[in-house]
Structures are given as C-alpha cells and as structure tokens.
Amino acid sequence: MFDVGTFRAKTCDRAGRRAFLRVGAALPWMLGGLAVDEVVRAAAATRAKSIIFVWLWGAPSHIDTFDPKPDAPMEYRGPFTPISTRTPGLMVSELLPRLAARSHKYTVVRSNVTSEPGHPDAGTVGLTGFKEKPEPVRPNFGSIISKFRGHRGSLPPFVSVGRGIPRDVVRKVDGYGGGTLGKTFDPFMVSCSDLGEVEIPALQLLDGLTPNRVSDRRALLSLVDEVPRQLEALGIDEWDRTFQRAYGLLTTPAARAAFDLTAEPQKMRDGYGQTTFGQSCLLARRLVEAGVPYIQVNWSEYVESITPNCDFGWDTHIYNFELLQDTHCPIFDRAYSALLDDLDSRGLLKHTLVVAMGEFGRTPRINGRAARDHWPRCYFSLWSGAGIEPGRVIGASDKYAEDPITEGITPLMVGTTISELAGMDAQARAELRVLDGGSVIHELV
C-alpha cells in the first residue's frame, strides 16, 4: 500500500504555511538542489552504485552480538553462548543463527571507535564523521553522496526510511541531513509499517489528499483552490514549483512503484518478517533496484529501548539480555539475512554497499541493573557487497571487548570508505569540502 495519508493543519493560515515549509524542507531534492553545481565524476572507480546504511540506533551491545568473549568472566560475557559461523574461526552470538549461516556474505569490523558517549552527539558523529560542535554541522554521508551523484530521474538521491529524524527523548540528531551542504541535501523521509504500508509524511499536504486523488490533477488543483490565502502568503510561484515536483514523484508510475511493497510476492515480504524493520529493509532493496544512490534504514526513531512513546531502540541500560533475546536480535537476524540474500540472488549485491552499525557499543562489564550502558571505545560494524571481500573479520578487540587492539576505525573513516566505494575519490571530496582529513579503511577498498 502506498499512502500519503492526511494532513492535520486544517485551514489555519499559519498552519498551512508551516505545512508548506515542512514540505519545502523535506523535499529539497525537488527544489534548488537541481540547480546546484554538480560534481559528478566518471564512475570508473564506482563499486557501489547504491548504498544501504542500516542505522542501529540506540547502540547494540557488541559483546552480545558480533564480538562475543566466551572466556571472559561472567560479569563481562553475559548469558549468551557464541556459535560457529560459516567462516572458520568467526563466532557470533547464538542470538544470530541466520547471520551465522551467512557469514560468507559480510565482513565484520570489530574495532570501531567513536569520540562521543551520548546518543545525539554520537549520532551526529556516526552519521557525519564530525562532532556537532563547533558548528556548522557537517553533512550526513547520504547527503554527500546525494550531492556527488546529483539528482536524476524522479526519485530522490537520499532516502531515509524510518519514523522520523533519529532522536532521543531530549532532542533530535543534528547530523541527520545536509549540514553544510544545505537543507537541499536533507534526506527524503519515508516510513514503513510492519505490514509494509509506506507513508511519506512530507506529502501530507492537505486534508483529502489520498493516493487516488493525487493521481487526479484536477482534484489536486481543486484542493489548491481551497487554500488561496496560504498560497498568497507563501508566494505562489515557489509553492507551485515545489508542488509540481512532489506531484511529479507521486504521478510517475516508476517512482510510485518503488515505494509499493504490495508489488512484492507475499513470500518475499514474509521472508523479511512482519516487522517495521523487516519491511523497511525490503523497501530499501526496492529503492536500490529503482536506482536510489543512498538509503538510510533507521532501526527506530528513538534510542530508548523501553520508554513510553518511544519505539524500542537499542539503548538497553536495563532489560539488555531480555530485549536482545526476545525481540531485537531475532528481528535483526531475520531481516538483515533476508536483505543480504535478496540482494545477492538478484545480482544487486555486486554493486550495492550494505553497512550496518550503531553509534557506539555497550559496556562490556555488566552494569548494576544486569544490563549494559554506553561504550564508545569499541563496537562493531557489518560490511557487504560492492566488491568487498566477505567472510572476514577486520580489527580485533581486547580480551574483554573494551578497546581495539588494532587501529581504531572512526566514523570519519566509515564515511570516507563509503564515499570511496561510491566512486568519490579524495579530490572529489576536497572539491566538495567534505570528509576532510578522512582516510579509508584499506581492508575494505
């Protein structure tokens, strides 16, 4: 189902203006972004035509997932038993049996490090490679790829699949979007339900705007006529241009089809699992097929694992073992395995880079509440596709998974490596004035 939903702003002038501004902010690729100078280079070195960046927001425990330490004391290793994988010598948690059987499709990095111990700050570092302060905030990796590749066709170059801008209960992550490149390069936000219903909040323009009506231009114009004062206040010309581009997305069959999960066979949808994350991963695969260069799949909007009005992130200060065992790991294990299988069987993995990681790890030593707190000194990431040799472990942590014993891999290195695999070399990065000072993870390029 493809659903643009309804808009709650009613007929209040002020609300209508806000609604427009929201559209303008959320659909930057439809605006001036088309006129910006493009730094599109020959794709000779482009190994990743598309990137799927799976953002495990809230920070999964590395020691309970991809960096188990079975010989550590009980107060470190926790209750889970490592299991063998298809890769000789590689052990992962027993909570990930499907991914253990698919270790030949990804490479694990066990030496990620970050500078920030708090969520929004580490979120910005994890998504941009740089701290929030001093301002200005740097662009999201997806925004960089978006600028580098430019906007082609009717689909946006940077799509974020999730319920909203990643945040905690206090504030949003500053580094979610275009940063110094401008809001033009913010992600195009879509969300996906556990039933595969796709919503595009930014297109909830007006009450009564439904998928059926949106394909009827006269109905749209009729709706427009209902709010002439808003148009006048906003400036009709610009509003019209924005509206037409949004309309163009919705009325282009190929673009609409990319967001329509009902086009998938039921067996395929089932394979990803009837969960929001599972169906979001399936949507990401469809967007890769449709040629979208960068898709960020957010595990959750909120980091908090169990908090009223929050959507069960990976921040397991309490209930760590229960949540990993009961929900988080089974959902991730199923969906991520399905994604890798699906991309692989379609031949897409060769030219698609898939990266999964959180903003940091969790305390190897179990906390007072028999769970785990924040740990920026060591965590993991998973890398697949785009010619990366799979079935390897890059980097290593010490005996308690507290610190890398090899070179620490920073978020800036992650972003630089993504850009390199996307065909953006050091000169291109310098010309765009992004990821300055970054180095690639040599084992991956």
């Binding site: 009980m74 107060e75 926790g78 209750p79 889970f80 038993t81 027993e94 049996p97 319920r163 209960v169 339900s193 556990d194 067996k267 949808r269 089932d270 394979g271 990803y272 699992g273 009837q274 969960t275 929001t276 599972g278 909120y302 908090e304 694992s305 169990i306 908090t307 009223p308 009005n309 929050c310 959507d311 069960f312 921040d315 200060h317 309490i318 209930y319 073992f321 229960e322 065992q325 009961d326 929900t327 089974p330 959902i331 199923r334 179990i366 906390n367 007072g368 509440r369 028999a370 769970a371």
Partner: protein, 290 residues
C-alpha cells in the same frame, strides 16, 4: 513431537469445546504481529491474555476469548507498554509489568474481583521488574529484579508489601513458575554460565539444577498436574518448546520448526499448550497437545 510447519488447523472462532478436543495444532490468532507472554486467565481455560506490539511504540495487553475468537485490548485507554501478564490459578489476581517512564518499569498487582490495584514501584534510576508469578495460595508474587550487577528473584506480598530477596546468585535469575502445590519454584539461571533450569523450594532453599545444555533453557512453566515442566530452548539451533519432568528425567521436544517457537503456557486442565509460533515471518498464538 509435533511438526508445525504445514498443518495449522483453522482458527479463530473455533468453539471452546473444539479447542479442547482438537488433536491438531490450532492457530488462535491471525494478525501475525509481534507477540509474547500468553497466559490463561480463567480457570476454565476460556480466555487468554498476551502482549502484542500493537503499534510501533507500545506493547499492549490483549484478551482472547476462545469461544468467539475475539481479540480485544485489556486496557484500551492505556498508552504505556504493558507485558508479562501473570494470573492466579483461580483467576482472581493479575500481575504484569508496566512501563512508567524512561527505562523504568513497575509491577502492577490487580485484584480482578474488586478492581483494587497495587504497585511494586520501579527502583531509582533505570530499573524494572521482570516476569511475575503468583503463588497458588494467592499470598505472594515472585518476580525478577536486577541489583548489584545480578538479577535476583524476589517475593512480595499480594498487597505489594514486604519485598524479600529469595534468590541471590551470580548471573541472571528469571522466569519463576510455581509448582501446583506452591511448594516449589522452577526458574532459569545463568549462575553456571548459560541459562539452565533450576528448581528450589518456594522459600528459596534447596536449589538444584534441572537441565544442563550449552545453550539457553528459558521460560519454564510448571504443568497444572505437576508432572511436567515446559520451557524454551535453542539447543537445536533455534527456539523450540521442550518438556521435562521435575526430576530432570524424560526430556522431550514438543515442537520442531525452522522458525521460532517460544513463550509456552499450559491450559488450566493441562491438556494443551499455547505458545507464540513464528511462521513465514508472522507471529501468532498456536495451541497444541503437549
């Protein structure tokens, strides 16, 4: 052993008598959403409670009436997550975990006869109760609670007063379940490395190990006749339902499917098990003969 892959007899709306008599596995729900914690809430076995991920931000307690197949919210106006329901044998008391704030969970004990409700509040900071179990005599509730880096079993009065630490060992102790006479409790513990089943007297003494597998043995539930304990184990590689006698003998496997089976509970007459079965990526309640 029951292979549930192919045969799942329909379903919702099946009469209660048929539910009790059916030899085949019966699927009790069909929405496929993420589920957990089924438990019978009436002594005659006519009603089940369970938790479902009703919307992305809320685990909600649901009530399933078996005669009609009707599923409805137990607390329709509640916006906070509630899960892990436990019901007394006579159906009078309900205990469950309720999310009160940021990483903060209380245990609620409710007298369903008069609606009176008491709480065991969360501790300071991030903390929460786990897995309540009501004693057959309705005098106490056991639960799991973390302190000092370990997770202990506590006992509290049905009036939520006088919490007492019953089990204090290394590791995580969780999922207590009373024997029908209330004299013993089975639970899972990681004191020896990974999750295994242990049995103790209900005063916390005479702890003995019941299972010893290198994988997880979790969520034990004592049968109404006292002769079997069902539990979840991934000893074969994924989560399945197993059964064992209280002396550790007679281990048998109840389910066998490449997807997960978990959260088993007994019907009050002991003739059926209900659990959460994942099939083709969808999670539903399924009932089988043990």
């Amino acid at each position: 052993m029951i292979r549930l892959g192919v045969l799942l007899v329909a379903v919702v709306g099946l009469g209660f008598g048929q539910f009790l008599a059916a030899a085949e596995p019966i699927r009790l729900t069909t929405d496929g959403r993420v589920k957990r914690d089924p438990v019978f809430s009436k002594p005659d076995g006519s009603e089940l409670l369970f938790a479902v991920l009703d919307r992305p931000k809320q685990l909600r307690l649901m009530k399933l009436t078996l005669a009609s197949g009707k599923v409805e919210s137990l607390h329709p106006d509640e916006t906070r997550s509630e899960f892990e329901p436990a019901v007394s044998r006579d159906g009078r008391f309900l205990a469950f975990v309720q999310n009160r704030g940021n990483l903060s969970l209380a245990m609620v004990i409710k007298d369903l006869m008069n609606g009176h409700q008491v709480d065991v509040p969360p501790g300071g900071g991030f903390s929460g109760m786990h897995s309540p179990a009501i004693a057959p005599d309705n005098l106490r509730v056991l639960y799991s609670y973390p302190e000092d880096g370990r997770q202990h079993l506590f006992s509290v009065g049905i009036d939520a007063k006088n919490p007492t630490r019953l089990v204090d060992s290394s590791g995580v102790n969780n999922w207590p379940s009373f024997s029908p006479d209330g004299q013993q409790v089975v639970f899972s513990s990681t004191r020896d490395g990974d999750y295994d089943l242990y049995v103790m007297k209900s005063d916390g003494t005479d702890v003995r190990r019941l299972t010893d597998s290198p994988k997880q043995d979790i969520r034990p539930r004592w049968s109404p006749d006292g002769r079997r304990i069902v539990f979840t184990s991934n000893r074969d590689g994924n989560y399945e339902i197993y059964s064992v006698a209280p002396d550790g003998s007679g281990l048998s496997r109840v389910t066998n499917h490449p997807e997960q089976d978990d959260f088993a509970t007994w019907s009050p007459d002991g003739r059926r098990l209900v659990f959460v079965a994942e099939r083709d990526g969808h999670q539903d309640l399924v009932s089988v003969e043990p």
